[in-house]
């Protein structure tokens, strides 16, 4: 096997096989997914979500992320938060994602179809963030944590993002900025989030797994 054309055919074919089998087939199966309301029913014959039983006021999920939260995603990407945080919840019974409170249901391919960049992640040095917007509800908590994680979570190894905040002198008449954070700092100074920090927090708050899809539902609330 010395001839160049034969070698190249072999090299091409072996890689093409895995490309076709993985990416192309994946695209065939997942590339056409649409946002859906939870009221779609499964067509038993073709096993696809064919029949819609329309309901009043239904929303189709996942919804698109817009505005400030979308700008915040660019910050999340540019700062490389993905090096320590995942955004995917594994199914109950595989790992302990459910038990740790990282999400009430597993994430499925449809959850990601509206995202132009999918950040499922590869490392959990920090907790999973798929549902962090549900877990932590106040913007103040996020700001205080980003500004100095060790003050909020003692012993945390998350780096501080204080450079996203401005330390400003409080004006002469003692008027504080409306956005100033409730953080201890030097006398006569206040800490104000930049637009970048506000966008990032809006993004974190938008990370919620609080909707049903035809293929997965949140567990029913226990009745009491």
């Amino acid at each position: 096997m010395k001839s160049l054309p034969i070698i190249f055919c072999g090299l091409f074919a072996t890689l093409a096989l895995s490309w076709a089998g993985i990416i192309w087939r994946g695209q065939e199966q997942l590339g056409g997914l649409q946002p859906m309301s939870e009221y779609y029913a499964i067509d038993a014959v073709s096993e696809s979500f064919r029949f819609e039983k329309p309901q009043k006021d239904e929303t189709r999920n996942p919804e698109a992320r817009v505005g400030l939260a979308q700008q915040g995603k660019a910050q999340y990407i540019g700062l490389g938060c993905v090096s320590c945080h995942t955004q995917q919840v594994r199914r109950k019974g595989f790992g302990a994602d459910y038990e740790r409170g990282w999400g009430a249901r597993q994430t499925v391919p449809r959850d990601y179809i509206r995202q132009e960049r999918v950040l499922t992640g590869f490392s959990r040095t920090g907790p999973d963030l798929s549902n962090v917007g549900e877990r932590r509800d106040s913007a103040n908590w996020f700001h205080a944590h980003l500004y100095n994680p060790q003050a909020v979570s003692p012993g945390s190894t998350m780096p501080p993002y204080a450079f996203l905040y401005e330390k400003r002198e409080i004006t002469q008449n003692g008027e504080r900025s409306a956005k100033a954070l409730e953080l201890p700092t030097d006398e006569g100074y206040e800490i104000v989030p930049t637009l970048r920090a506000e966008a990032l927090v809006a993004y974190l708050q938008s990370l919620k797994l609080d909707y049903n899809l035809p293929e997965v539902r949140l567990p029913e609330e226990p009745q009491n």
Binding site: S18, I22, I23, C84, F94, Y112, T120
Partner: protein, 487 residues
């Protein structure tokens, strides 16, 4: 001896491009190690350099991996690979200036890319973090270099073809393909939803398995028989090993998606492929290990061979561990922990990089026509690297396993046993200190390596300069000094 002068002619044709690739490789290796060191310190002391946005954790960890993969890995692979292709083809490189151009642009691209990551233009896609203004240049220069490798093979002297040539051609051919595919599906025409994640793992797995690995294996297949002066254990097995590796590796990355938002068949395919990869791994192991069997005294004595044999043993071990890590019951624990980082370091450093070190020790004296100035520095390089990487692997596998078992443990009442996430973080910190120590050790080795290379360059330049003076004096009809005549 005509064959002798032949190989020196080949070495001369590779001198400039070879030096460009090898020296930039070493520069990137040192850069990447500095980034890795800072990253490791920050992972235990988050306040370290925290006010500098450029050096925030997310930036430098990506800058480190990209410097090592494309800066060190790419340059080393091109330099060593093309030289081996030319040597085995028994023909000088045609128009080596084209290789120089390709190499210059490759390095411009990596510089732009790593710089872009540092200033925050990163994409946050694993191992593809470089911004778009770097990636096009990277892709085009890799094609140019690949075409030149193909030409070297095409215009070889008639005669036997070796398995190394196949491996190196494959690496040169596969890289542009996987890289361009990944760029298109992730950035230019982004695929919908998790197809991006699938593409990312396909790429990342193949970057190691179909780019760095073939180059490392090809170099080992060249160096071991060459240095020992005996043929490969079985040529037939080597061919089977190559093609089965080509067939199975491409699918293996999917096992990393276990438990994730992808159809289960994809993960199953990945696991089956990872287990199937054992076949080529065993074949390669038999070939490499049996060829050096009963020559361990030579391995201990020869500077290149020591590194290469360390690398081939690491390839076998890293592949076996990688296969175990793909099984669902194991990956449930190891997924998302430093175990996975450990396994990629096992491939990138303990296998690929060590073999490349061996290849540098073999190749540099030949293209510079000079011998290594210091054996002590080589000793220091070897032991710091070998002990350092072993310590790093223990630290990463160890901390990851602790992290994974504690993160997934569920108590009798369905509650997490280690509910306090911060406690798990704390439990890994001693291991991460060990990683910092290991990187320090590794960088001492690298400094010894770099010092030896600089020293050798100075010697080579001096002897070249003396030669020139001698020739000039000769031309003026002066009687020149005997020692310059000798050099």
């Amino acid at each position: 001896m005509p064959s002798e002068s032949k190989s020196s002619e080949i070495d001369r044709s590779m001198k400039l491009p070879g030096l460009l690739f090898l020296l930039s490789a070493v520069a990137w290796l040192l850069t990447g190690t500095v980034f890795a060191l800072l990253t490791s310190i920050k992972s235990t002391f988050p306040g370290f350099l925290a006010n500098c946005e450029c050096l925030t954790y997310g930036h430098i960890s990506a800058a480190g991996s990209n410097s090592i993969l494309y800066g060190w890995g790419g340059n080393a692979l091109f330099g060593v690979g093309l030289w081996i292709l030319a040597r085995l083809g028994r023909r000088p490189i045609p128009m080596p200036v084209m290789l120089l151009i390709g190499g210059v642009f490759w390095n411009i691209a990596v510089t732009l890319g790593v710089g872009g990551i540092i200033i925050g233009d990163m994409t946050s896609v694993m191992w593809l973090e470089m911004p778009s203004y770097a990636t096009t240049i990277l892709a085009i220069s890799s094609i140019l270099i690949g075409v030149w490798g193909t030409l070297v093979y095409r215009y070889r002297q008639p005669g036997p073809v070796y398995i190394s040539q196949l491996y190196i051609l494959a690496a040169l051919f596969w890289f542009p393909w996987i890289y361009i595919t990944a760029q298109i599906f992730l950035f230019y025409l982004p695929a919908r939803g998790v197809v991006q994640v699938v593409t990312n793992w396909w790429y990342a797995h193949n970057l190691l398995g179909l780019w760095l690995a073939p180059a490392g294996l090809g170099a080992a297949y060249y160096l071991i028989p060459k240095i020992l002066g005996r043929p490969v254990h079985s040529y037939y097995l080597a061919t089977v090993g190559f093609w089965s590796l080509a067939l199975f590796v491409g699918w293996g990355g999917m096992s990393n998606l276990v438990g994730g938002p992808v159809p289960a068949w994809l993960v199953t395919v990945g696991i089956v492929a990872s287990v199937a990869t054992l076949l080529p791994v065993l074949i390669i192991a038999i070939n490499h290990h049996l060829t050096v069997m009963d020559s361990f005294d030579r391995v201990a004595a020869d500077p290149s061979l020591r590194f290469v044999v360390f690398g081939t043993i690491s390839f076998t071990l890293a592949s076996l561990i990688g296969c175990v890590l793909s099984l669902r019951s194991v990956s449930e624990i190891s997924q998302f922990t430093t175990v996975m980082e450990g396994n990629s370091q096992h491939f990138v450093y303990a296998f690929f990089t060590m073999i490349m070190f061996g290849a540098f020790y073999f190749m540099m004296p030949r293209i510079l026509n000079c011998s290594w100035p210091s054996g002590k520095l080589i000793q220091c390089h070897f032991w710091c690297s070998a002990i350092g990487i072993t310590l790093m692997l223990i630290a990463l596998y160890g901390s990851g396993w602790i992290q994974g078992t504690q993160m997934t443990a569920i108590g009798a009442y369905g509650d997490p046993v280690h509910g306090d996430f911060l406690q798990i973080v704390q439990n890994t910190i001693p291991w991460l200190h060990a990683r910092t120590a290991s990187i320090l050790l590794i960088s001492i080795g690298q400094l010894a390596f770099a010092a030896n290379i600089l020293w050798m360059l100075v010697e080579a330049a001096r002897s070249c300069y003396c030669g020139m003076i001698g020739a000039a004096k000769d031309a003026q009809g002066e009687k020149f000094l005997p020692e310059t005549a000798a050099s």
